[in-house]
Amino acid sequence: MTPATLCVKRIQVSASLDPARARDWVANHPEVPQQAILELVAAGNGPRAVAELEAKACQDLAQGLSSDNVVLRLQGTLCGREATGALRICETIVSVHTQLAPAPAKAPVAPTPAKAPLAPAPAKAQVAATPAKAPLAPAPAKAQVAATPAKAPVAVAAPPAPPQPRLEAAASQPSPAEPLSSIQPRSEASPAAQPRPGKRIVIVPVLPPKAAVAPEVPPPAPEPVRRPRRHGPVVRPSPLLYPVIAPRIRSEEPPTPFEEGLRQRIRELIAPEIDRVMRPLAEAFRLAQQKADKKS
C-alpha cells in the first residue's frame, strides 16, 4: 500500500520525567539556570531527543520538585534533528501535575489471635427415659367357644365276620344240580325248612350285605394312547389351496364343478392319511373301552 504523505507544520511531543532524576538535576544546579539543555533518552529502542529549556521552564522544574507527589511533564515541538541524529525539541515547557497521594501503606495486619479452643460442647441433656408403657390391659379372655360336643362315634357296622363254615359244610356241598334259590340260610330258614332227620342239610355261607362293601375305587385313567410313529412322507394339501377353498366352504353357494373336482382330489390325497392315523387311534380307543367295561 502506498503511504499517503502529509505535510504538517508542527509535531508535538511530550514525556514524563522521573522525579528522582529530576531532583538530582536540581541538586546539581543550586542556582536555577537561565537556560538548560536536557538530553532525553527513551528506554529501549526509543529515540534520543535534546530539549532546550528556557528560564521559565527551568524555574518551573525547580519549583515543582519542591513538593512531593508531583509528576513533571515536558512538552515541546519537534524542530528537526541534531547533527548527532537526536531530535530537537523546541518551545519546551514543564508542567507539574500533582499526583494523587499514594495509598497509605497498609498497617501490618496483626496476627489473628489464636482461636480459643472451643469449649467442649455441653453434654447433651440426657433424654429422659420414656416412661415404660403401662402394660396393656389383658385382653378380655375370649369367650370360650363351647366345646363342640364330641361327635358320637359313628357306629360302624362291622361287617359280620365271615361265618366259619361248619364242619358239616365240607361234607355237604350243594349239589350243582340243586338251584341256589332253593338254598336258604339257616337263620332265615323257615320252620318248614328245618332239617328233618334223614334229610341232607346244605349250608351256604352268609354273604355280607352289599352296603357294607367298601366303595369301589375309581378305575385308573386309561393309559394315554401313544401315537404311532409316522413313516414316510405325509401328503397334505398345499396351503395355497386354502384361499381358494375356504370362501366356498364357508358360503352356502353350491360349489362349482372346478371346486368340486378340487375337493375330490384333496379327499383322495388326505383320506389315506386320515385312515392311517385314525385307525390305530380307533383301535386303541376300543380296547380302552373294553377294559373299562370289564372292570365295571
Binding site: 502529509l6 505535510c7 504538517v8 514525556a15 512538552q75
Partner: protein, 118 residues
C-alpha cells in the same frame, strides 16, 4: 553548556492533521478496511514520521469528523520509536477527533490534556 541526561520511558507524539490532506479512498466502504499508512513530513525540516493506522478506526474517525468539520479537528497520536534504519515511526497510532475549542498544549500553552504516557 553541558547536556544533562534524563531517562524517560517513551516519547509521545501528537500531530494535528488537516482533514483535507487525508486520503479518502482508504475510507471507501466498498473495500476491505485493511491498514492506512501515513507519511508525515515536517515543514522546513527533513524530519519524517511514518504511522500505521487501523483502517476501520480510520474510517470511523473520518466519519466522525465529517459530521461537524468546521468545529472539529483531527489529531494523530502515538508513541515515537526509532526503527533500525534510523527512521522514525509512530507506533500504536490512532486518529482522534476532538472539538475545536479543546485546548491544545502547544497552541495555548496550557497543560497537556491528552497523550499521557501509557
Amino acid at each position: 553548556m553541558a547536556n544533562d541526561v534524563l531517562p524517560i520511558k517513551v516519547l509521545s507524539v501528537h500531530v494535528p492533521l488537516e482533514a483535507s490532506q487525508l486520503p479518502r479512498e482508504e475510507s471507501a466502504s466498498n473495500q476491505p478496511a485493511g491498514e492506512v499508512i501515513l507519511r508525515i513530513e515536517l515543514e522546513g525540516s527533513a524530519l519524517v514520521l511514518s504511522a500505521r493506522l487501523n483502517g476501520k478506526k480510520y474510517r470511523r474517525a473520518l466519519k466522525a469528523f465529517d459530521v461537524a468539520p468546521a468545529s472539529s479537528r483531527l489529531v494523530l497520536q502515538g508513541w515515537l520509536h526509532q526503527a533500525e534504519d534510523g527512521s522514525l515511526e509512530v507506533r500504536d497510532a490512532g486518529l482522534q477527533v476532538s472539538a475545536e475549542s479543546d485546548s491544545f498544549p502547544a497552541d495555548q500553552g496550557s497543560e497537556l490534556a491528552v497523550g499521557a504516557d501509557r
